[in-house]
């Protein structure tokens, strides 16, 4: 298992470079749509380690074709130069009736399947790449439909799942979706996310995917229990941290992941 860290803003560049130099991470995941005005060669030269590309705001289920075609054209330049380990995007609702959701919403999986399938096929074709699509940190009961939806989508489109282990734990804690329901998805993919989460302010508490604290015992237990399902040749596990970005705290969590998965045994380099 390769262990990586997300890189979302220029201010954390030195931290990410240091973690790579000191061997704490094996690769870096760029939130690439934050860097679409940075020359691809500048991104390539900044990191002495492999790179994954994570797309946040393509909104490919909702955006118009011309916008996406322009974005895909520019993304392909980055793909050509950076030769990423993987390219991932999100399956979520970014707007409702033309109005912007600041806290993304979960899809209505059964009723939106055919639209999603069509858009995934189209977006993969435009990017010229297999896409890995991230599961949502469910709060409400619709989360129960997610594992079957992703299994079907993988089968029908050839896309992969960027399986976020802590999002699955959020869904388990919020709506009781058993972690074992994801086993087929975990077995099907090689790319994973993990992060800390926090509780809502109001009662009854819900668990929110906040990327601002250390990994929870529940998440670490999940990874440990199903280690053999997660760990496979060319597998990657990106640790996401977007708030409270402290070197020692991040290293502490990265080492917990190393303790579970050990050091990589080649494959991707």
């Amino acid at each position: 298992m390769l262990i990586g860290l997300n890189f979302t803003l220029g201010g954390t560049l030195e931290l990410v470079q240091r973690l790579a130099k000191e061997g704490e991470i094996d690769y870096c995941e760029l939130l690439i749509d934050n860097f679409l005005q940075v020359p691809p060669s500048e991104l390539r030269d900044a990191f002495a380690c492999p790179i994954g590309l994570h797309i946040m705001f393509s909104k490919f289920l909702e955006s118009d074709a011309a916008y996406l075609e322009s974005m895909a054209e520019r993304l392909r330049e980055y793909i050509d130069v950076l030769k990423p380990l993987y390219i991932s995007d999100h399956l979520a609702r970014f707007t409702h009736k033309g109005r912007t959701l600041y806290h993304l919403a979960e899809l209505d999986y059964p009723n939106e399947y055919h639209h999603v399938r069509q858009r995934v096929d189209w977006w993969q074709e435009k990017l010229g790449q297999r896409l890995y699509l991230e599961n949502y940190p469910s709060i409400m009961d619709g989360g129960h439909d997610a594992p079957e939806f992703f299994e079907r989508l993988v089968q029908d489109t050839g896309a992969g799942v960027l399986f976020d282990a802590s999002n699955a734990v959020c869904a388990q804690l919020n709506c009781g979706l058993g972690l074992d329901r994801w086993l087929n998805v975990i077995d099907s993919t090689t790319h994973f996310h993990v992060a800390g989460y926090s509780l809502s302010i109001l009662e009854p508490k819900v668990v929110l995917d906040t990327h601002d604290v250390e990994l929870s015992p529940e998440t670490l237990a999940f990874l440990t229990r199903y280690k053999d399902h997660f760990d496979k040749p060319n597998a990657t596990m990106t640790y996401e941290r977007d708030e409270n970005i402290e070197y020692d705290d991040i290293v502490s969590d990265l080492r917990k992941l190393r303790a579970i998965f050990g050091h990589p045994k080649g494959g991707t380099q």
């Binding site: 220029g10 005005q37 916008y67 959701l101 709060i139 409400m140 619709g142």
Partner: protein, 188 residues
Amino acid sequence: MNSSRVIDNDLLDALMVPAKQGDYPRDSHAFVRIDCSLRVYWHSLFDICPDVLALTTPDGLAIYRPFMAWANERQLSLDWTYYLWVYQWLLQSEFRERVTPKIARALTAASAARWAVGDRSASGGIAVGCADFPELVVAWKSHHIDEGREIELVELDEPLPTPPGKFGYFTIPQFELNTFPGWSEILR
């Protein structure tokens, strides 16, 4: 199917309308899930523009709730133009006498910055003009790996025409402000 089953889709109309939160039981996950959504709009306004919060009590609700209701009535998109509409709401509210030029510039800068964070077009920057002050607010996307977005207040030697509405904007293809293609209207 369980009749008590509630999915995110059932809540969409309430996720940006504070008045609709009361349609759900206070002790339900739905109520809390809506609250999580509404808080992001609150923080996006007052964390970024604390001078607006200073106009009212610390909970900000005398501004936040009526603005969000007004925005809902007009079906505002709440995209990068969010703060421009807050300014326009303030000008027709009980707070209008206390809206300073500093607040006007701060809200305009916040909208320009939000464009630079969220826009994924090929444009490098945006310039926003306001009929209430002479400068341009310009926001640039990050174009070096170790730099963030930049926001500038630009004083022009020769002022541009006043936007036809309260605000106007134009996007900038590269990273140099050297042409004026005319004002685009701020859309809802």
